[in-house]
């Protein structure tokens, strides 16, 4: 009970400490969007015959006719009410859009991360066990390829091979077969929702849709994870306690996984946190190629149209995600290595 309370306190303190940073992010994005050239009112008043009067109407509707400081105060008031404004691009409230799209991005990112870790850690360990062997070179080559090929190229390539030529993958348009009934809307994570409702055919379909984009993203982040695992394992495997473990006759497997890997995991966890946050924001190309209705492509469309509210909402959300992920990583540190203190 006391331990829980102390963890709660720590978490609360960490969250409180992040508030000024979040405020800074809000103000910075807010100002930046207005400094960037391009008038959203002009962009959206592009109907035939739309003239100065219509541009002015849109400006009023978006509140852009008011002085910037007043706009900022109004924006803060809106955040206080739990709102983030309205997107001109989709015509919906930004909060509603993000709520609909964030699960899609999270599901994709998490699946890609699990996939990437599933390959990267074994590959990293194998490479570390035989440094400079042929195997090590193969792993290095695979990682370099993954990083060198931009995600939209590998995405299009995977689509071409598995959808266009082989025809074994479903059409790369979003999270679910378009002709299927719409998914149960419980958590927004389709794999979880289908599992809850026990619709396993739906679950397989959703997993099928997820596989190619997740592979595309996993390929891209394989390198940092595998290389970090390798480097960290190399350092650990050379240390005294491993030699001791071997000398007292522990099994090969136990030495590597229990004594080696556990000690080598800290830097891998750190890099996983960074990779995850980056993926969440940077998977926009994958989302575009696979028509994945995620937050990345949403923010990009808004940015191209100088649509302020969604971009601000997206940046705020990403900042929040970063805070939460960092917190999570710190907690994981504690589990991986009890000597580490979250404070």
């Amino acid at each position: 009970m006391r331990a829980l309370k102390s963890i709660g306190l720590r978490v609360g303190r960490r969250l409180a400490a992040s508030v000024p940073a979040l405020l800074g992010v809000v103000v910075f994005t807010f100002v930046l969007m207005r400094v960037l050239p391009g008038d959203p009112a002009v962009f959206f008043a592009s109907g035939p015959n739309a003239g100065q009067a219509e541009i002015q109407m849109i400006r009023e509707q978006m509140g852009l006719d008011r002085p910037v400081h007043e706009q900022l105060i109004r924006y803060f008031a809106e955040i206080g009410r739990g709102q983030l404004g309205r997107s001109m691009t989709t015509g919906q409230a930004v909060v509603a859009d993000l709520r609909e799209r964030l699960p899609a991005s999270l599901e994709l990112t998490l699946a890609a991360l699990v996939l990437a870790l599933g390959f990267a850690i074994p590959l990293g360990i194998l490479a570390a066990l035989r440094p400079n062997s042929a195997l090590d070179h193969v792993v290095r080559f695979v990682c370099s390829m993954g990083v060198c090929v931009p995600t939209f190229v590998s995405g299009l390539l995977l689509i071409y091979v598995f959808y266009v030529v082989l025809g074994i993958s479903p059409d790369p348009t979003g999270r679910i077969d378009i002709f299927a009934a719409s998914p149960p809307d419980i958590t927004g994570f389709l794999l979880i929702d289908f599992a809850i409702t026990g619709d396993w055919a739906g679950w397989y379909a959703a997993a099928g849709q997820l596989l190619l984009p997740a592979c595309t993203m996993a390929l891209f982040v394989l390198a940092p994870l595998a290389r970090m695992t390798r480097a960290s394992m190399l350092a650990v495997l050379g240390s005294d306690f491993i030699r001791t473990a071997r000398s007292i006759g522990l099994s090969h497997w136990k030495v590597i996984v229990v004594h080696g890997l556990r000690n080598a995991l800290l830097p891998v966890i750190t890099i996983t946190g960074i990779v995850f946050s980056t993926m969440l924001g940077a998977n926009v190309l994958v989302e575009k190629v696979f028509s994945w209705p995620g937050v990345g492509s949403y923010a990009l469309d808004a940015l191209l149209g100088s649509d302020y509210a969604p971009v601000q909402g997206f940046v705020l959300m990403m900042a929040l995600a970063f805070v939460v992920v960092n917190l999570l990583i710190d907690v994981l540190y504690g589990i991986a290595d009890p000597r580490v203190n979250v404070e």
């Binding site: 050239p37 391009g38 008038d39 002009v42 959206f44 008043a45 109907g47 035939p48 015959n49 739309a50 003239g51 100065q52 009067a53 219509e54 109407m57 849109i58 509707q61 997107s87 001109m88 691009t89 989709t90 015509g91 919906q92 859009d97 390959f119 074994p122 194998l126 066990l129 035989r130 939209f152 299009l156 689509i159 959808y163 266009v164 074994i168 993958s169 479903p170 059409d171 348009t173 979003g174 077969d177 378009i178 002709f179 299927a180 055919a201 397989y204 379909a205 997993a207 099928g208 849709q209 596989l211 090969h252 575009k288 190629v289 028509s291 209705p293 492509s297 191209l304 149209g305 100088s306």
Partner: protein
């Protein structure tokens, strides 16, 4: 440190599991019975409002409201020699109106509403509904009023209920586009009883409600809408306002946003999607040659690509400079590079005075470097000049090669051109503020009569008068043409306006690219509409 057998087996098992998952992901069989009656269209854009008149509404919404709402009247269509159909502004029939009477002086139109017409909720269409909808089109804070004013509709006083199911529309002057404009997406007819229930004192025209809800009576009903992702519609089986009262073929329509053009192309080629109208121009010839899908290419007589000079700043305030630039351009090479010559030319005629009043048409302008050089010297730039040519990022696919040719050709008359690409929102702002000297843009007209082009693109103060050109004679003539009933006089005026515009050259008309719709081979009846979106009511399978 050995890589033992067990580890090897584990790695192999992981690989096998991944391969198996891909195989399991093979698509489930679509329900073949309804699949034939379902049309799946993929598009790059999004629909952000169920009411296309909303401020900020996207172009994709035009096609939607044509299908979910009716208008009083509808333009006809005519076959095109290359296959498919195109719209016909001169052949207008009643849609929600079963009869339209026009008074002899052209000042009064009387619309008789179809006796058995109903809204989606089953209630009958009344004269009050029509009056309310027309009032809304000229009064609401939306994109509709400026469009309606293009044909002299400005005030609710012009619309009067004169009997049960009869509405009278009065015009201050006889206007050529009076009926045509009532066939556009903005003149949609709304179930006013339903809309009024959701109107508030701040929002008397139920703009907020109609953005996300429907109150129409059109051929299709929106079943589900995920903004930015997809929209699904089902057919309204009680719809009676089609040509000869026929129902459309497709029972279900799926409109899906697929941002990547290459993905859209493979979807249609593999037959998983049925229709796409916004593929990359460079993909279409390849699709045509592989012959797995059908390409219908229809000239877009109501659109144009142009090169614009800002006539309000030096050096382009001098018509001689503008003409010199126009004479220096390598038209054919640019057309080939930009669009693989898939379209209609608006250059290359040999006349000096327009032979007829059609517009746009091939104009009497061709590359002539010697004359261009001479004109530039005459304008006071014997040693050439420097300028910047700007275009939007969204146009780079076809403007990049064209800009390089333009740069090279102008170099030959001593003009040094810097090329600048800008994001769309930014370029829009610069055009409105008239801060770009020299750029390219696209234009289109819903009601492509020559006077409409001249009013919208060659006069006035809106963004669409790209060059900011003001010519008192053309402005006056465009207004006169709009109201004249005498066809011979109208043609005279148009010929004169073409001649002046060619001599003054506020912008160079280049060409109009074909409208290229790629569809499954078994789909027929495709029609190009003035709003450049798909009207699903035209389409059939088999």
């Amino acid at each position: 440190m050995k890589f033992n057998r067990r580890q090897g087996l584990k790695a192999a098992a992981a690989t096998a599991a991944a391969t198996g998952a891909i195989a399991a992901a093979a698509p489930r069989e679509a329900m073949s019975q309804t699949r034939a009656e379902t049309l799946r269209q993929v598009m790059g854009g999004v629909i952000n409002s169920l009411d296309a008149t909303m401020l900020g509404g996207t172009r994709e919404g035009f096609g939607l409201v044509m299908n979910t709402y009716d208008r009083l009247c509808s333009m006809g269509r005519k076959p095109v020699s290359t296959g498919g159909f195109t719209f016909d502004l001169d052949n207008i029939r009643g849609e929600l109106a079963e009869r339209i009477d026009r008074s002899a002086d052209g000042l009064t139109y009387t619309f008789h509403i179809r006796q058995n017409a109903t809204w989606h909720d089953g209630t009958p269409v009344t004269a009050e509904d029509v009056k309310w909808s027309l009032d809304r089109s000229v009064s609401a804070r939306s994109l509709a009023p400026p469009q309606m004013s293009m044909s002299s509709y400005t005030s609710p006083d012009q619309y009067k209920i004169v009997g049960e199911k009869v509405v009278e529309v009065k015009l201050p002057r006889s206007d050529r586009l009076a009926l045509g404009n009532l066939s556009t997406p903005y003149a949609m007819m709304i179930n006013s009883k339903l809309a009024k229930q959701h109107a508030t004192s701040d929002d008397p025209w139920a703009i907020n409600y109609l953005k996300e809800n429907q109150a129409g009576g059109g051929a299709y009903i929106v079943e589900s809408h995920r903004p930015g992702q997809q929209l699904q519609l089902r057919r309204n089986d009680n719809w009676k306002n089609g040509l000869n009262g026929e129902l459309p073929f497709f029972r279900r329509i799926i409109m899906q946003t697929v941002p990547e053009a290459a993905t859209r192309a493979s979807l249609v080629e593999r037959g998983d999607a049925d229709l796409c109208i916004d593929l990359a121009a460079s993909d279409v010839p390849a699709i045509e040659s592989r012959n797995r899908a059908k390409v219908v290419a229809i000239p877009q007589g109501n659109t144009f690509q142009c090169i614009v000079f800002n006539t309000r700043v030096a050096p382009f305030d001098n018509p001689k400079v503008r003409r010199a630039f126009a004479l220096a351009l390598p038209y054919d090479a640019m057309f080939q590079a930009a669009l693989f010559s898939r379209g209609s030319k608006y250059y290359g005629a040999t006349w000096t005075h327009a032979p007829n009043g059609n517009f746009p048409q091939p104009l009497g302008i061709n590359q002539d470097l010697d004359r261009a050089k001479a004109l530039l010297a005459e304008a006071g730039f014997p040693n050439g000049l420097e300028t910047t040519f700007t275009y939007a990022v969204s146009m780079s696919a076809f403007v990049d090669p064209m800009a390089a040719l333009l740069q090279e050709a102008l170099g030959r008359i001593g003009v040094r051109v810097a090329i600048q690409k800008l994001p769309d929102a930014q370029i829009g702002t610069l055009i409105v503020e008239r801060r770009l000297p020299f750029f390219t843009d696209l234009g289109s007209a819903w009601l492509p009569s020559p006077d409409y082009f001249f009013r919208l693109y060659y006069s006035g103060e809106t963004r669409w008068n790209y060059s900011g050109w003001q010519n008192a004679e053309v402005t006056a003539m465009a207004q006169e043409a709009r109201f004249t009933l005498d066809q011979a006089r109208y043609d005279d005026i148009c010929r004169r306006m073409i001649d002046i515009s060619l001599e003054q050259m506020p912008h160079v008309m280049l060409w109009s690219g074909n409208h290229e719709a790629v569809m499954s081979k078994d789909i027929s009846g495709y029609t190009y509409w003035f709003h450049r979106m798909v009207d699903w009511r035209d389409l059939k399978r088999g």
